[in-house]
Subunit: 480 residues, 2 copies
């Protein structure tokens, strides 16, 4: 009895990655030598290259498609294509499914039509549907022609849903049984399969109209007596989804009820597909990533080694908006140019007020956006949240405004200036609280994603508001 081969996933992968990087570097050196010395040592270096390539291939063959995808993501374009060319063709499809959109694009651009068709041939309908959008349009007719009618219908059905809907994420690999047979019959039926679909934790019970009547978890199948009928054992209270349901809601349900797979039914209760936890986990990850990216104003996930030009385009719309808001905020300062001329220290102190307002508003907004995302607060909670956040803002303003006011009063031997600073900080904190609750709530009211762009608007309000409050108070109390 030999011990199991244990895999330490992360560290093992890192080792493989280091080894592949090493091979790639040796390859580059060999090419460099070859170029520099011309034909002189050609034979030797050619041999080296061939050995390198064989070793690279061996390395890749031992890796899981997800690992290869990971390595492709982490390599700059040139190295990425070297590795991609060494991957066995029959694994191309699985790997294309695993990589991010940006990397997928770069890989497909490197393949010819025949390679693409060969790569996607072994895929299931739902996987095909995931890739179709990224394929060059000229391969589509041939691809569709190669499918059987059922597959073609499935691909078209999956494509007919929005990517935020359950229909776009479901697969079609289901094992179905009838409820009037015994578990013994079910077991015999299952033994006719070579393999059950991935992530099969339950089989679906349907009637003669394909209407779902229950589910039979494998766990229950194996612990119950084989003489019992499916109908006696199965669960009738099932979490089902419609293909038009929101994908994030479905992901939340998977998380909340610890689901592994769940049936998708049409309006008449007929079983049409299946959702699985692996797809939902990817969804949860993507959702939180796109939230983080959206907050920073990145339009889409950016391949870390994307070209400079692609990155400039991805980022500039945000910078353009930011430029406009920063310009408008600076016009507020322009209004008080006369006051600053008389008391130039105001120019020094005003960014402090604006900056603190921005960061505490951001703390509020992140909490509210999160609570909205999980449906924990609705529009009706706005007054309660305002009351609370205003309380927090008032205390924080008083404490930190007091500290900075005292520092300013001491530094400039000017107690009124310190008092203005303290009062401005309190008011700015309260403005930030009002905005931090109000902006995401307004977005919700307008039926928009509360995360997207709420930050720009907040910073605009806290910057211009902070400048206005501080310079306005100073003009009134210090200059007259």
């Amino acid at each position: 009895m030999s011990e199991v081969e244990t895999r330490k996933p992360q560290s093992r992968l890192q080792e493989q990655f280091a080894q592949i990087n090493d091979l790639l570097q040796r390859q580059r050196q060999a090419e460099e030598l070859l170029r520099r010395h011309g034909g002189e040592h050609k034979r030797v270096e050619n041999l080296m290259q061939r050995q390198n390539r064989a070793e690279l291939q061996r390395c890749l063959d031992g890796l899981h498609p997800a690992d290869i995808a990971y390595i492709l993501e982490a390599l700059p374009l040139e190295d990425r294509l070297v590795v991609w060319q060494r991957v066995k063709a029959d694994r191309d499809g699985d790997i294309l499914l695993e990589v991010s959109d940006a990397v997928r694009e770069s890989l497909i651009a490197d393949m010819d039509e025949g390679e693409i068709l060969a790569a996607i041939e072994p895929l299931d309908s739902d996987e095909l549907a995931d890739l179709v959008e990224d394929l060059p349009p000229e391969v589509l007719p041939e691809l569709m022609a190669s499918l059987d009618p059922q597959q073609r219908e499935q691909v078209q059905s999956a494509l007919s849903y929005d990517e935020d809907q359950v229909g776009a994420l479901m697969d079609f690999e289901m094992v179905t049984i009838r409820e009037d047979v015994t578990l013994e019959v079910v077991l015999r039926y299952l033994r006719r399969f070579d393999e059950l679909p991935e992530q099969t934790d339950k089989i679906f019970v349907i009637n003669h109209d394909s209407v779902l009547t229950g589910v039979l978890p494998l766990k229950w199948l194996v612990v119950n007596s084989p003489d019992k009928s499916v109908g006696e054992v199965m669960a009738r209270d099932v979490n089902t989804f419609l293909p038009t349901d929101d994908a994030d809601d479905a992901a939340q349900a998977f998380e909340r009820y610890d689901l592994i797979s769940a049936p998708v039914v049409d309006g008449g209760g007929r079983l049409i597909g299946r959702l699985t936890i692996d797809v939902m986990v990817d969804r949860i990850r993507e959702e939180s990533e796109s939230e983080a990216l959206g907050r920073a104003g990145l339009r889409q996930e950016e391949d870390i080694f994307a070209s400079v030009w692609a990155s400039v385009r991805n980022r500039w719309s945000w910078l353009a908006i930011n430029l406009v808001t920063a310009f408008l905020a600076s016009r507020v300062i322009g209004l008080f140019q006369g006051s600053i001329e008389k008391l130039v220290v105001l120019a020094t102190l005003m960014p402090i007020v604006a900056s603190i307002g921005g960061s505490s508003g951001n703390q509020t907004i992140i909490k509210i956006v999160r609570a909205i995302a999980t449906d924990q607060v609705g529009l009706n909670a706005i007054w309660r949240l305002w009351r609370k956040e205003l309380g927090v803002a008032f205390f924080n303003g008083l404490i930190w405004g007091g500290v900075i006011g005292a520092v300013v009063a001491l530094m400039y031997h000017d107690i009124p200036l310190g008092l203005v600073m303290t009062v401005a900080m309190v008011l700015e904190q309260m403005l930030a609280a009002v905005m931090g609750v109000g902006i995401p709530m307004l977005m919700l009211r307008l039926d928009r994603d509360p995360a997207m762009g709420s930050n720009i608007f907040l910073v605009f309000m806290t910057d211009s508001g902070g400048f206005f409050i501080f310079l306005g108070l100073a003009s009134i109390f210090l200059l007259h």
Copy 2:
């Protein structure tokens, strides 16, 4: 054959939540009336209250513990405790496991010792270990005394690991078999169980020393002939984890290899526990949330209805640091007070430079932090990343610096001022790029979490750097 009862999870839950909120409001109104009218209508209102309470109870009894947890999270403290008191005692433990730390604290504070012990009595060892930290210390001796030796050992073992380690997340509910028996025997053995543990997709194969030799997925158990032996069918190449492995690495492995459960073994390969996907999904969600919260400077998840005082404490350390950095940045402006006195428009324009630098630096940092978190870039990539980000920064600076420079030149009829603005924007963008790559890389080098606090430092650098670049250039080229 009746149709399955389909549950639309999210909308159903929202309805229930609305209904419960409604009941709570009626309850409050009844209490209010009772107080206002004194004894007058006492009997009627008492009856109303009782009806309300019964209806609330009925509502709650129909809900999944995770749903009740969700509702408790979404209610302000007072209402939360009303609901909590109506929850059947035997479900308290499951619900406590589902709620966030902040809410858990508020619920436990409302229970007496007896209630707490009764609530946690039905829990498994790993679940107990999750709760122990939040329990009042006075119940611990009695709790530990109520456990059998094996459970006590398991709880202590789980507690001995850091919460970021696999050991703190594993459970102990495993079904184990020997590899020399047939599948027929395994099936007969499993039928002796009433139920298999949650999330059981495979059973673990061990030898007489408890060393893991393979795993047998239920899927494989049911499709293979019962005459085969476990050893013939089982998988020997298994993803295993050590209890000391990093929990986030484990979560990534679950995501990458689409695992549902995986064995945890000790250094000698002996099976000691099990990781399951539901725990990993929670981990993935928490990880991304704490990243988002950490970025905004919130020390911990904050109950949305936490008291003002708790919120002030949670947020103020960040504000204190921000105050210091904002103050230091303002000292940079102080250096150029003379220049601002001579040309007060500089005070108007300087925040534009700083603001754009801050947001593009933030875009860079978020990308780098993400790539580091997924191990896609290491320290050796820093030069390549710098080169690329500097390219992006140069173009963005030139484009938007050019735009704002032209606007400024036209507004103030001052071409040199416009040119200074443009050059300052380009330099500021490049500073932001250097910092956006450099700061998280430095954190990585120092073995710290690159997300935590990298933003404060970035904003400090882009603010003070932006002020310095712009005011410095202006002093040199416009005032001499």
